[in-house]
């Protein structure tokens, strides 16, 4: 399965999870909707849209839970005719992430949940601590690049 990650320590646990749980697709994302890792995605599914919607769905379920039950609902399961999805948070030393798992009749909710627990443990064990120092990332004179790119985006002339 094709896996792409922003953080390398995520790759092995995620690969093991999708193999063991027989998942079709898996996404690990930040609660703000930014993708951390993706497994099995092809051009047919837009990763960024899926992340934005998964983050929204997770946040909504959490808030609904707090309002009706006093506690955030943590996990979600939706079932369609062919595919199902399971959405649940993962806690690590790097902070909280959300995992979106898509599976079909080759797997089951029970199987996904069992291996999801292993994924949580594996990620918690693999996560390095947050770096103490954050370096400045881009040059101070980035405005020229920014203006040129935005002008190109909007079809405008940039001197």
């Amino acid at each position: 399965m094709n896996i792409a990650t922003v953080e390398p320590w995520v790759e092995a646990p995620l690969r093991r999870f999708v193999d063991d749980a027989r998942a079709r697709l898996a996404l690990l994302l930040h609660p703000s909707g930014q993708v951390i890792a993706q497994a099995g995605f092809t051009r047919e599914v837009d990763v960024m849209s899926a992340c934005a919607l998964a983050a929204a769905s997770h946040a909504t379920a959490g808030e609904l839970g707090r309002r009706v039950d006093g506690h955030a609902f943590r996990s979600l399961h939706y079932a369609g005719p062919d595919r199902q999805l399971f959405l649940s948070p993962v806690e690590t030393a790097r902070g909280a992430y959300i995992c979106l798992t898509v599976f079909n009749a080759e797997s089951s909710l029970g199987l996904v949940r069992i291996y999801f627990e292993e994924l949580c443990n594996d990620l918690a064990a693999a996560a390095p601590p947050l770096p103490a120092i954050r370096q400045p990332t881009i040059a101070a004179d980035f405005e020229l690049d920014l203006n040129r790119n935005l002008a190109a985006l909007f079809g405008r002339h940039h001197p």
Binding site: A4, T5, V6, E7, P8, W9, H30, P31, S32, G33, Q34, I36, D46, M48, S49, A52, L53, A56, A59, T60, E63, R94, G95, P131, R134, Q135, P136, T137, I138, A139, A140, D141, F142, E143, D145, L146, N147, R148, N149, L150, A152, L153, F154, G155, R156
Partner: protein, 207 residues
């Protein structure tokens, strides 16, 4: 929270368009979507009611191109402006790197603008964020309407812009001000990132 991938040299930032109902937040995104070439934008997602009012959010991923050697991507979100969608506004605002506040220039909407601006500050405070530290740009939309219906930029500035942040008159339906607003928020957000003060997810890995 800006996501920085040093290995693939990619930066991803989340920008939220905030403001009262019908001020033109979705219109800004539609205009941008219509202007940007296909290879520089993703699919626009709108969670709207049957009457096209924003129910949860609009989402538009943009590829800004290479900035200081980093492939820079912006994810633009709008919030639902109507008062009773307070809970969903709070959710969409989570992890925002910058906020564009879209005010409705109509004189009769001044109270709505102020209420929405206060709502923005309250929601940020609830997330433990000092609103003064969040990159913010103001847009005074609908400046194309007849003069007797709208407030001038100076009047709106007096009423809302007590922080003295960048502000732009706009007509989001036809385009004036949309580009300038996006350019300004991108600049403020990237300046903050370049100064190393953005509380982002910083990754040093491969894609």
């Amino acid at each position: 929270m800006s996501l920085v991938n040093y290995a693939t040299r990619e930066i991803t930032c989340k920008i939220v368009y905030y403001g009262p109902g019908r001020s033109g937040k979705t219109t800004n995104l539609h205009y941008i979507y219509g202007q940007v070439p296909d290879d520089r934008k993703g699919r626009m997602v709108s969670l709207a009611t049957q009457t096209d009012r924003t129910l949860f959010f609009d989402f538009l991923p943009l590829d800004l191109g290479s900035i200081s050697g980093f492939t820079t991507k912006f994810q633009l979100y709008t919030v639902p402006g109507q008062v009773y969608y307070q809970a969903t506004r709070k959710l969409v605002l989570q992890g925002a790197d910058g906020v564009v506040f879209v005010a409705d220039s109509q004189a009769r909407q001044l109270g709505e603008n102020i209420e929405s601006f206060q709502d923005l500050h309250a929601n940020l405070a609830e997330q433990g964020i000092d609103a003064r530290t969040v990159p913010l740009v103001l847009q005074y939309n609908k400046q194309d309407l007849p003069r007797d219906l709208i407030l001038t930029t100076a009047e709106l500035s007096d009423a809302i812009n007590f922080r003295g942040v960048p502000e732009f008159p706009a007509d989001a339906l036809h385009g004036p001000g949309v580009f300038e607003t996006l350019r300004s928020i991108a600049e403020v957000v990237l300046k903050r990132l370049s100064a190393g003060t953005s509380a982002g997810v910083v990754a040093g890995a491969r894609g």
